[in-house]
Amino acid sequence: MSLGDYLRLLRAKRQGITPWEIEAATELPKGLYRQLEQRYRAMGDDDVIRMLADFYGVPFAELRWRFDWPRKALSRTLMAMSLRQEPLTLHLWNGQVVTGTVMWWDLGALALDVGAEEPLIVQRHAVERWSPRLPNVGHPADEADADDADDPDEDEIEE
């Protein structure tokens, strides 16, 4: 689970406190919390993560390691592995480890052919880590576009 997804989960556990309320309670710049949750690439830095760890009352390390596994990195790996049709191992939130080839993937989920009769549909936010981890790989022609285009609200920064 990426840092953004995890923050969303923590916020949901707090009965859906709003990003603005969190920004007001911490010293986060206006609009940053929303970016932390919604942007696919890693946003913020250690100071920001420390502030949020204090706010939610969770260990700093619990947030920090997720910072290195953003959605964008999972997208790159999924794209590369689906093109290569090579097996991918996913470490899921519940401790389950599944290995299979990527059949399809999209905004919220991915289908893994795990050798069973039916594919396993995995919610992307449930993926903690994965292997192999392929930094910045994928379809070479798509890399430049993919970096910028799959962030749906790249320019929508709240004022």
Binding site: L107, A126, D142
Partner: protein
Amino acid sequence: MAENLWALREQKRISVAALANRAGLPIGLIMEYESGQRSIDPRHLSRLARALYVEESTIKLQSDPRPGAAPLERQPVRETPPAPVTIPKPPAPRPREKSARPKPVPRPPVPPRPSQLAHLDNLLKRIKKTTAELEAELGKPLSSLDRSAFSTLLKDLQARVQATPMPARHRAYLPEAVDEFEARYLTAAQEHRDLLHFTLFDGSTVDGVVVGFSPYSITVETPDGAEVTVNKLAIVCYTRRPRRQEPTP
């Protein structure tokens, strides 16, 4: 009571020439009518009446000569051709003084705009040609072209580019921008009333047939007939139960 033409004309304070102009008749004919040498032609009477703003009956067809006026003389008809009249030549026009403004010097050729140069680079890339090849084709260096010639050249190259079939554009495949695959999967599962097995974050499981879904939740009908809506945020994974395990309705 009818009056002489000349009297009416003088009352209206217009000249013979003006009357002739208004009536569309020759001046000489008007003078003859006024002198009484000729009676007014009935065809001209209406014209003269209109020109003088009077009734036709007001004009006397045969005017009395103006008192004290010399009778109008006709010029004798020449029997011999007159000597050629030498019309003095008008004085030759004075040579115009040269104006203070200097004679316009032809402008130097205007160099092409930077945008034209950039456009040329792009077009050459599209048609896969180098500047040297283009210059060889033109037979002269590009630096010798002015802005206008450059514009013509660009139009020509643009036409060539448009005539060249373009390879199919490779678009980035970005399934992360949509959630169509999962939606398609769930739609098929709903249509076939497949039994799905959900594993949730808290370790529990839910089995059910999809009765509806949104980007954020899936609603299923469990085997005991209950309807459960599961938030996708609470789902780790799910899979379709093999058909042989489907409960019979």
